[in-house]
């Protein structure tokens, strides 16, 4: 399938741009949003967990986490293990999640307009499978 990856990559920047424009109203960016989403799903997690999930090096995650702490959206929960920091969303963080979640879902619906649920399912499968191959 010639051109598939090219098209994939070409779309990335415009997509990120619209997501970032949406998020900047809340002083967020997509990279910060990723951490919020991960904590929303997992409840609590260490920085290494986040680093592994997104395949981004730890220093980058440290910065994201510090920024989100400054914004009051996440906080550290006490842990027996003093080596690792366990993070979770604050009440404010959960609130912001809900607000952004709705906006992002609306944007995604807009972007997916005219595409059947089946097509989207297939695209999702595709993305899941190539992940393992990379």
């Amino acid at each position: 399938m010639e051109g598939l990856f090219r098209q994939y990559i070409r779309i990335y920047r415009p997509l990120m741009k619209s997501l970032n424009e949406l998020l900047e109203k809340y002083q967020l960016s997509y990279s910060l949003w990723q951490v919020i989403v991960y904590l929303k799903d997992e409840g609590t997690s260490t920085l290494v967990d986040i680093s592994n999930y997104y395949q981004v090096e730890k220093p980058s995650i440290t910065r994201r986490v510090h920024r989100l702490q400054e914004l009051g959206l996440i906080e550290e929960v006490p842990s027996a293990n003093r080596r690792e920091k366990i993070m979770e969303l604050t009440t404010e963080g959960k609130h912001i999640y809900q607000i952004c979640r709705e906006e992002i879902t609306a944007l995604e619906h807009h972007i997916s307009k005219g595409l059947s649920e089946e097509e989207q399912q297939t695209a999702f499968q595709f993305l899941m499978k190539i992940q393992d191959n990379i």
Copy 2:
């Protein structure tokens, strides 16, 4: 389709990483490769054409083009319009294109392993359609 865009974005970095690793053998990066591919397809083009196609601002394209000129992979062709620069691949540029094309195609096949042509077609359609909606 919950999680589709999240998955899309999550894969981007690892994919770029493997593409960049492949290309750095030739002192290239994917952003430079994009210009080469565009010129391969179009034959000749101005910087504005490239800028519009990839939706990247002109100063970024200026930099990419200068870098590729330094590498001897593209060159300016004389034009009646002295305001615009028309670029094309050099012989060396075409040569490098062929070499990288094969390697990238092989990588893409590897990454798409286990996916039917039909699935890939659907994914491609998906990517084409959302482009207009963004």
